[in-house]
């Protein structure tokens, strides 16, 4: 994200795509939607490095919330605060309140493992287990001790991840034999098989080609009908196309603006956000 001063084709592309994206995502957010996740003055330190400063936002139910910003601005860090994946890093320290349906997940009585069972996560690099496709999808069910008709759950999850038709004849082959895009959809199927309340996605399409990316984007929009999706991306067109709300993080780990996607892209309040979105800063 350098090259800021020349008004090249890139910038034109951004602007046309933004307007396209908006008509597609046509603000489906209703103002009275229930708030699922609410963060209040979240601060994160990695050792002495202050990674996030006073992040406060409210994420509504059954919607797509995008987090955009330049590399190293802390958007992934914030995502990992929601399911306490930062706990796995020895030097990370989190302060502040982050509530999931009214319960502060950083309370002493919250078991991070139990929390992660309610909050699914999809990672930047597709990371299926070196097991069969079937075993990948049922992994969460098995470790969480969920009973049920596994065959049916596998079929449903793969169908919802738009992967069923491609793999239904080879469920018992290794998940690693799939292409990158298929692997990422398998990871999404694996995450939704246990029916979590929230789905966190950390740049799920950044390692994929354009076709696979657009498949993932379609999928995210569909998933938002049943799940609360929080997605990190550094692709602004993607955020504009698929999200209902957008949070813009800028360097230094601060949340500069959080609002409806349409407003962020058409009429941002902050000059810095406008500069970032139009490509003058990055």
């Amino acid at each position: 994200m350098t090259g800021t001063n020349d008004p090249t084709n890139d910038e034109m592309l951004v602007e046309t795509d933004v307007s396209d994206g908006l008509s597609a995502a046509e603000s489906s957010v209703t103002d009275d939607a229930d708030i699922v996740i609410e963060s209040e003055d979240i601060n994160v330190w990695y050792g002495d490095d202050h990674a996030l400063t006073d992040i406060s936002m409210e994420i509504p139910e059954n919607s797509v919330t995008a987090m955009i910003g330049p590399s190293g601005c802390g958007k992934s860090t914030f995502l990992r605060c929601i399911n306490r994946m930062n706990d796995l890093i020895d030097v990370a320290r989190v302060e502040g309140n982050l509530t999931l349906r009214g319960k502060n997940v950083y309370d002493d009585d919250v078991d991070p493992v139990a929390l992660r069972r309610r909050v699914g996560m999809v990672f930047q690099k597709p990371n299926p287990f070196p097991k069969s496709i079937y075993d990948n999808v049922v992994y969460g069910l098995k470790i969480q001790g969920i009973d049920g008709d596994y065959d049916q759950i596998v079929e449903e999850s793969l169908k919802r991840a738009a992967l069923w038709d491609e793999v239904k004849d080879r469920l018992h082959e290794s998940g690693l034999d799939l292409s990158g895009g298929q692997q990422q959809r398998l990871c999404i199927a694996r995450a939704i098989a246990t029916d979590p309340e929230v789905l966190l996605m950390d740049e799920p399409a950044s390692a994929l080609d354009p076709v696979a990316t657009s498949q993932i984007e379609d999928l995210v929009e569909e998933l938002a009908e049943d799940y609360t999706v929080v997605i990190v991306t550094h692709n602004m067109q993607q955020a504009a196309r698929i999200s209902d709300k957008t949070a813009v993080f800028l360097t230094g780990g601060e949340l500069v603006e959080f609002d409806d996607t349409q407003k962020i892209f058409e009429n941002p309040e902050s000059q810095r956000v406008e500069d970032y979105i139009t490509g003058k800063f990055g």
Binding site: D90, M121, T194
Partner: protein, 542 residues
């Protein structure tokens, strides 16, 4: 000056001297080759003493050259030009046959001479019952809490293998007391052939993607093993030995060859190469026998492998030492594998990064370099003096060697665990898995091939150790196979050491010692080749 520069520009870029670099490069090459060449010369010398190829008739050499060497070169050369992958498969099949033949020798020693077949059978039945019960329990994995399942499994194994004295007979006891027991070869066919048939059946079912084919392959493997035992005695081959060799060597090698060809049709010519080598060797053997050519008067011969020590070098053999080495290996593996892997998992997955962990870290690396004689002293001090065990038994020998290789097992297992991509752990934790679930379901299965490779290489170190065994008072000479954990044990390197020190005479130096070294090295090479094949296989898969 200026004009000189100008002219050199005009001529081109000029030259930069590489003399120092060239000298350095060849010095490095010399350093690389020094150890290998020295060792190779020694080995050729020893092998020449042990096998004495020059004592054979010229006709013997000529016959084998015509039946074995020439066809192998011709077929191999043709394949090398057209289909190298197939040649590789052919070589692998021949290698697998050789290694598995040696392995079957070891299995025969353990399951015929050390453990009487009936005893082995009775424990096998007990194990099968316990495992069947465990499998039944896993069906209810989700209903029964974890601790209850572990306790039930443990109880099941204990009851079926040991029983409760006075109240409840264990299964091995019941089988051994049964009024009618099958003869030895039937037992061996059922136990060894059965295991082989299971493995072969599953392998074929997987490559053919057809359960019926797998069932047929497994059944025919079992029938073949039994058939060998019935036909063998008619042509003068011991039924028990034949069952072991068929089950451990022939059938698995054939299944490997068949399976590889099924998955990759284009590798078929490789089987021609394997057949050329095997048939050539057999035809050569028959031919020299018929023509009356005498083979080399090798010291590493059947007599050497199957008899025990004797006062004269001609009659001396290595048999009890081979059996002792095998028993020691089993004990060492059983002790060092769980301890080593457990420590590695703790240090990699659980241990916090603090002073205590770093202290352990540094010490494990140092322990790997402690001289083996010190471990021998430790074994003597702890097991003999402190715990009051008898000196020189299989148990304390194995325990001492296990301590010796424990640091190596820990270090190589940690290496394997560290090589599991962090993405996989993240994925597992992100699904709401606990640390234990992540370790069990993701980390260990991924790291297992690496752990196994490291352990086999470490066992190779243990099999060659002499000093610790001397320290714990293992006898230099053993005339009978050790049959229990509490029997006195000798080992191959110890026997060789005894021949070259206690019985030092020209005869022993030139005959028994080289023969013993060749056997020891052959076993070591076989173990290392298994480790290397395992590592290559899994490295190419990931």
């Amino acid at each position: 000056m200026a004009t000189e520069q100008d002219s050199s520009y005009a001529q081109g870029f000029g030259q930069v001297s590489r003399t120092a670099g060239l000298i350095f490069r060849y010095l490095l090459l010399a350093a690389t080759m020094f150890g290998i060449v020295t060792l190779a010369v020694l080995l050729v010398y020893v092998a020449n003493d042990a096998i004495q190829p020059l004592t054979a008739d010229a006709g013997w050499h000529l016959t084998f050259f015509l039946t074995l060497v020439l066809p192998t070169i011709l077929v191999g050369g043709a394949l090398y030009r057209r289909n190298r992958e197939a040649l590789k498969l052919g070589g692998m099949v021949v290698g697998a046959l050789l290694v598995s033949l040696m392995f079957s020798g070891g299995v025969a020693i353990v399951f015929i001479d050390i453990i009487p077949p009936l005893t082995g059978f009775s424990y096998a039945v007990g194990l099968v019952v316990a495992v069947a019960g465990t499998v039944l329990l896993t069906k209810y994995e989700r209903q029964i809490p974890f601790t209850a399942r572990v306790a039930a499994t443990g109880l099941l194994f204990f009851l079926s293998l040991f029983g409760v004295p006075g109240y409840f007979h264990s299964i091995p006891e019941l089988v051994q007391k049964a009024p009618v027991v099958p003869t030895d070869w039937i037992i061996l066919t059922l136990v060894l052939g059965g295991v082989t048939a299971l493995v072969v059946g599953q392998y074929i079912a997987r490559v053919r993607e057809d359960n019926k084919a797998g069932l047929a392959a497994g059944a025919s493997a079992l029938v073949l093993t039994a058939l060998g035992a019935i036909v063998g005695p008619l042509v003068g081959i011991d039924a028990n030995a034949l069952v072991v060799v068929t089950a451990v060597s022939f059938v698995p090698t054939a299944a490997y060859a068949g399976g590889s060809v099924i998955t990759r049709e284009e590798l078929k010519p490789g089987l021609v190469f394997a057949a050329t080598v095997i048939v050539g060797a057999l035809v050569g053997a028959v031919a020299v026998d018929a023509l009356g050519f005498a083979g080399p008067q090798a010291w590493t011969d059947w007599q050497f492998l199957t008899s025990s020590h004797s006062g004269s070098a001609e009659n001396a053999g290595l048999y009890p030492a081979i059996g002792g080495s095998i028993l020691l290996m089993v004990t060492v593996a059983a002790l060092s594998f769980p301890l080593g892997v457990g420590a590695a998992v703790y240090l990699e997955e659980y241990a916090p990064d603090n002073r205590f962990t770093r202290f352990i870290d540094v010490n494990i690396s140092n322990l790997a370099g402690v001289p083996s004689v010190v471990y021998g002293l430790l074994g003597l001090g702890v097991f003999v003096t402190y715990l009051g065990q008898a000196t020189g038994t299989v148990l304390i020998g194995g325990a001492t060697l296990a301590l010796l290789i424990l640091p190596i097992v820990i270090i190589s297992s940690r290496e394997a665990i560290r090589s599991v991509p962090n993405d996989m752990r993240q994925a597992s934790y992100g699904m709401g898995a606990t640390r234990w679930q992540t370790v069990r379901n993701v980390v260990l299965p991924e790291a297992f091939p690496g752990i196994l490779t490291g352990t086999i290489l470490a066992l190779g170190r243990a099999i060659g150790e002499t000093a610790p065994l001397i320290m714990i008072g293992a006898p230099n000479v053993l005339f009978n196979l050790p049959t229990e954990l509490s029997s006195k044990v000798s080992a191959m390197p110890l026997q060789v050491y005894a021949w070259s020190s206690l019985f030092a005479s020209e005869d022993f130096y030139t005959k028994a010692v080289p023969a013993g070294v060749v056997v020891l090295l052959a076993v070591l090479l076989a173990m290392n080749s298994i480790a290397i094949v395992l590592r290559n296989k899994y490295e190419s898969e990931t």
